[in-house]
Amino acid sequence: MERSAADKRRMTFSALGDTAVVVALGSGIDEAVLPRVRALAHLLGANRPAGIMDVVPAYATVTVFYEPGRLAANGPRPYEQVCRFIIDRARHLDSEAKKKTATAGRVMEIPVSYGGEYGPDLSEVARHCGLPVTEVMTLHAKADYLVHAIGFAPGFPYLGGLPAKLSTPRRPTPRGSVPAGSVGIGGAQTGVYPLSTPGGWQIIGRTPLALFRPGLAEPALLRVGDKVKFRAIAPEEFARWK
């Protein structure tokens, strides 16, 4: 159903406890909402005034964390002050979102060595999907993905765009440790584990790229709104990386 223009522009506010305001820009997983999410996160995150601590975009929301004690003591109540700050910065949301749509994020290429020791669950995914192993690799590497959110673990991208044919349930028992760089499928989603963590996704390959770099000012390689392409590489190229 086509939403009205006013609907598309609506922001709804709610409190996440006594230190955060959640701005909802839509609902569900909706590629049309992402440019507005990115634009609002950008407008709010630049030159944060005292008391505004963090800005977190995800799917259809932007959450603004604040410290009530560091906002103007004689102004309106802290929650209202933060809502006003958001409304004020969102005056240019439409033009900023248009810019974000036009620039459409960056295209990030992620090299992946599929199967073998790097992708122990590739054959299980192929079996579940009723496809040859090579077809799983080809389909996974050919698709265009979009970063809807970064979370779960530092730098972990939630990617939309997995071909429906590759959808595979999570492993019945999660692994105690999934190596950093592992590329996995969990249900209808695909993603990359930036750090070695426990995890239940089906691991089909591994990238030599570091998705989380704690030494840098922007530690996550990917941002919400980035397009992601996987490129199949041979294990030898993986071994030679950097």
């Binding site: 609902s27 673990a153 530690p219």
Partner: protein, 308 residues
């Protein structure tokens, strides 16, 4: 100045006030489970409120100090050192913290702070990602922690007004403001008494003893930001109160959010302890937070004259 770790204790980590401003990269806030106790411990040795300290859990560490210094323990009461008051230690002396008698987590501040490298704006340890703190992990026997040489002495004898100190018990009532999906659970969150399960950790405190069921079945939610204090309810109905190392995003229904001033109470409940929840308004929660900041500011001012 060095602090040698003779025994690491059950889970001793370096913590400061947390890694602010990196949640969009998926990096949790981290920092202390009980921020009030950490700030108090720092004030008691004349440190800045955000200096790095040792967070001790249930069974404390045994330490050896290479130089004269000043220490203080905030939070849980441990065998071996009285809480909430500064103590002079001399070069070569040992400190052995035993089991936590009341509360769950103690904050051992040392004059000058624990001088581990700053990673993404903070010295706090995020064990899951091996980030920050001392080599990204909990302390082990044989570690040597870098301290700071400061000549800081106590001026006279003094004590903190006990009225501003928290009391820890086996059972507590924790105040919350409503979460986005509170009504979907009827009044169940406030009717039951929950038990702290042993699987609880710095990421979340898991509650048992009663289950919360969504009225009208499960509609899938799209992940959005969560924070320390979020009471989320997975499909098995057993609530989890997210704590310091909480993931940045979550997709489970949110029943409530523990108010800032009561997060320390939650942090200090031991496994096996019991908790009830009661609802307050956002205005009440923020008034309480202001009042606590005021107390800490007064204390900061008052203590400024107590060191030389």
């Amino acid at each position: 100045m060095e602090i040698s770790v003779i025994r690491g204790g059950m889970l001793t980590t370096v913590q400061d006030l947390g890694r602010v401003g990196h949640r969009s990269a998926g990096v949790p806030l981290g920092g202390p489970m009980d921020p009030f106790a950490l700030r108090m411990a720092n004030l008691l040795v004349g440190n800045a409120a955000d200096a790095a300290v040792l967070e001790c859990t249930l069974l404390g560490p045994e330490l050896l100090f290479s130089a004269d210094t000043l220490i203080a323990l905030g939070g849980a009461e441990f065998e071996g050192l009285a809480a909430w008051q500064p103590k002079v230690v001399s070069a070569g002396s040992r400190l052995k913290l035993g089991a936590a008698r009341k509360g769950c987590r103690g904050y051992l501040a040392v004059a000058g702070g624990i001088d581990v490298p700053v990673v993404l704006g903070s010295r706090c340890t995020y064990v899951r990602a091996g980030l920050g703190g001392f080599q990204g992990r909990a302390l082990r026997d044989g570690d040597v922690l870098p301290g700071v040489d400061v000549a800081r002495r106590l001026q006279n004898h003094w004590q903190i007004d006990p009225r501003i100190l928290p009391g820890y018990a086996e059972a507590g009532t924790v105040r919350v403001v409503r979460g986005a999906q509170l009504d979907e659970f009827g009044g169940a969150l406030f009717a039951a008494e929950f038990k702290i399960l042993p699987q609880s950790d710095r990421m979340g405190i898991r509650l048992g003893g009663a289950k919360l069921t969504r009225i009208g079945g499960a509609t899938e939610l799209v992940s959005s930001a969560v924070a320390p204090g979020t009471v989320q309810v997975p499909p098995d109905g057993q609530p989890i109160v997210l704590m310091a190392d909480a993931q940045t995003l979550g997709g489970y229904p949110q029943a409530a959010q523990v108010i800032s001033v009561d997060l320390p109470l939650m942090a200090q409940l031991q496994p096996g302890g019991r908790v009830k929840f009661t609802e307050v308004t956002l205005e009440q929660a923020q008034k309480l937070a202001y009042d606590r900041e005021h107390v800490l500011a007064l204390l900061h001012e008052g203590l400024a004259q107590k060191f030389q």
